[in-house]
């Protein structure tokens, strides 16, 4: 049966797909979103069971390769020290993230002008400000306005409690005279828009059974659907098709029964993030687009930026919050901006980590060699468990074309669609930044009285932030999409996810991804009469 064309077809129901669907729904156009995953059931989230920690090593792993759910696609990341982590469902990776919610700084949009590296963005912070604000209201943020070293925000809910861990960190940072501040997060600290307040389940990252952690399945999507947007789940898009004029004509996808379908559309929006988006474009080859769709620049899949995480942690004598609180609570911007005396350009943000649960502590400490086998196991475990403090630096990764996503010649997903292959190395600049961060983290931990200090640098399974592989820009030779998200090559094809980032900044990117998605939706609404000109 031939389907009627929809006005707008969105691929992916995660952070950006949900935001753009909600924003465009007010136009009363027929908005359809195809999502390869399904709706989540909070009753099945790990923290509802006694085996809550064990699940993070299997079916609730952050790695799609470990998890291996039917909704996931495999990723060949053998040639990368940082492994891709994501989640595939309604809500996407907002189902499985730490809910840490910093914004890019205004200076992050001008790195070429300020520091002579990479490129300036074709949009600036001021253009995104109203969309950051709108997104914070929709996602429901908590925090303390007034951080002198961060852009001004207006979280609708108060910050998370300082807790035991936060107080230890704050005292140590004060002794060193370094900046710290309670993090903006998308953890609800009071009842908000139908969401219950945080009750400190502690196991936030692999989904929140309380619904206190914001994910787009419980924020944007209910609003978007009430406004008329259609969301079709368990539909995996194989390719975007084009017509004789080089315009996107629709998508070929596999439905929940595995049956191939064609859905025509007047506008196609890709929201699959920095690995899924280039994979889809590269899989959408045709005679007219032999190198993949929207790839006349040759940059689709290139300039992958991960944010290498330099993590250092240790153990203090006092009890910490362990697993009895959201994992993140404070940030520092002490080393965010360029200071060439440090030996590298650009900088990093820091997120402090409150602690870990007993199984995680045992498994990781055994692997690190600080938890012995045998008679002394119990004594050492009691010294470690419930006493951990962590310092994680989110290092700004600059774009480099050799860091890239391509199609694996062999590996395929369960529908036979070629899987993505990652080639990535950590640059000398990033490595110097990571080393600097580890030295500062050690100072903080030692000031707090920590011992048994351990390092994860990079965090191997830390590829949460998938950025830069379909970059934004004014010049079609140097970018994939223009300054309002439309691909240079296909005038009814848009990209709204992390792949359009020009540079990465040194903070978690989701608030910026969603602000960009809302900005692009707004631009589309303003240009509806001449959207394809």
């Amino acid at each position: 049966m031939i389907k009627d064309p929809v006005d707008v077809l969105i691929i992916g129901a995660g952070a950006s797909g949900a935001a753009v669907a909600w924003s465009l729904a007010e136009t009363k156009m027929h908005i359809l979103c195809l999502e390869q995953g399904g709706w989540m059931n909070p009753a099945e989230y790990p923290s509802t069971g006694r085996d809550w920690e064990a699940k993070f090593f299997g079916e609730w792993s952050s790695s799609p390769n470990v998890r291996g759910r039917p909704e996931d696609y495999p990723v060949n990341d053998d040639n990368s020290p940082i492994k891709v982590v994501n989640y595939n469902a309604v809500g996407g990776s907002t189902v499985m993230y730490t809910a840490h919610w910093p914004r890019l700084h205004p200076s992050d949009f001008k790195v070429k002008t300020l520091d002579g590296v990479a490129d300036d963005w074709p949009v600036d912070y001021d253009a995104l400000t109203p969309f950051y604000e709108e997104n914070d209201r929709m996602m429901g943020t908590s925090g303390l306005s007034g951080d002198p070293l961060s852009p001004l925000t207006h979280p609708p809910m108060p910050q998370q409690p300082l807790g035991l861990s936060g107080a230890i960190i704050g005292k140590a940072m004060n002794k060193l005279g370094w900046h710290w501040w309670p993090s903006d997060t998308t953890v609800a600290t009071m009842d908000y828009e139908g969401r219950a307040r945080c009750i400190n389940l502690g196991h936030c990252t692999p989904a929140c059974a309380q619904g206190a952690k914001s994910s787009t399945d419980i924020t944007y999507w209910p609003h978007a659907i009430r406004a008329g947007a259609e969301l079709r789940t368990h539909c995996r898009v194989r390719e975007i098709t084009t017509d004789e004029n080089g315009m996107a004509s629709g998508v070929v996808y596999y439905d929940k029964d595995g049956v191939e379908q064609f859905q025509p559309a007047h506008v196609v929006i890709i929201a699959c993030n920095g690995v899924g988006t280039p994979r889809l474009l590269l899989n959408s080859k045709s005679d007219r687009f032999p190198n993949g769709l929207a790839n006349s620049s040759g940059l689709v899949g290139k300039n992958l930026m991960f944010h290498p995480y330099a993590q250092i942690y240790g153990y203090v004598k006092e009890p910490t919050d362990s697993n009895r609180a959201p994992p993140t609570c404070l940030w520092s911007k002490q080393w965010y901006d360029t200071d060439l005396s440090r030996g590298f350009v650009r900088g990093y943000g820091v997120q402090f980590v409150r602690g870990a649960g007993p199984v995680f502590e045992a498994v990781v400490s055994e692997q690190k060699g600080i938890l012995p086998w045998g008679e002394d196991h119990h004594r050492v475990f009691r010294k470690l468990n419930g006493h951990r403090l962590g310092f994680s630096a989110i290092c700004e990764d600059l774009p480099e074309e050799h860091n890239r996503v391509t199609l694996d010649p062999v590996l395929k997903d369960s529908h036979g669609i070629p899987a993505p292959k990652i080639d990535y190395t950590i640059s000398e600049n990033s490595q110097k930044m990571m080393d600097h961060a580890l030295a500062r983290g050690r100072e903080v931990l030692e000031m707090a009285g920590a011992t048994d200090i351990c390092i994860n640098s990079p965090i191997p399974w830390g590829g949460w932030h998938l950025l830069g592989t379909a970059r934004m820009g004014i010049d079609p030779k140097k970018s994939v999409v223009n300054e309002w998200g439309r691909t240079h090559d296909v005038k009814n094809l848009f990209i709204v996810d992390g792949s359009i980032f020009v540079t990465s900044g040194g903070v978690n990117p989701t608030s910026t991804i969603q602000a960009l998605a809302l900005y692009i939706a707004d631009q589309m609404k303003q240009r509806l009469a001449n959207l394809f000109d």
């Binding site: 989230y45 509802t48 006694r50 700084h105 409690p161 107080a167 900046h179 400190n200 045998g374 008679e375």
Partner: protein
């Protein structure tokens, strides 16, 4: 699927032996060892997707030991265990993780650690708000964002 596999009796014996070497019982802390029958039963019942690697780890262990681990004298057993831990790779790491994740959810062990015998949800935990006056020096110091042209 790997879930349909089962460990042999000999593998189960070796799993019990190595588990006791990882986490022995302790009178001091009033906890069983990881070779405890209930903890072993939990491991076997929940091996799931890990069974292939655990089975491979146990095969590796028997090769190192040249036979059942329990039949070696203490010195040789320790040497085998050290080699297994050092060079056992992903399979050995999976076995150790399976032992620890079952051990540290056992009621007797959690009690000994002073932890509650429950899932985090729905009760949650109470987090002290803390003394926000700690932030006063940061506010007093102030600062400015780097200017963007």
């Amino acid at each position: 699927m790997s879930e349909s596999l089962q460990l042999t009796r000999a593998q189960r014996d070796d799993l019990r032996t190595i588990a006791a070497m990882i986490v022995p019982a302790s009178d001091e802390y009033k906890v069983p060892g990881a070779d405890d029958a209930a903890i072993q039963a939990d491991m076997l019942a929940t091996l799931g997707r890990d069974i292939r690697l655990v089975s491979a780890a146990l095969d590796h262990l028997v090769r190192l030991a040249g036979g059942p681990l329990a039949e070696l004298d203490a010195t040789k057993r320790d040497a085998v265990a050290q080699e297994f831990r050092k060079n056992g790779g992903a399979a050995a790491a999976t076995l150790v993780r399976v032992v620890l994740q079952c051990y540290y959810r056992d009621d007797r062990v959690l009690r000994s650690l002073g932890l509650e015998l429950r899932a985090p949800f729905p009760k949650g935990h109470v987090l002290p708000d803390g003394d926000w006056a700690l932030l006063d020096p940061v506010k007093a110091r102030g600062g400015t964002l780097r200017r963007a042209p």
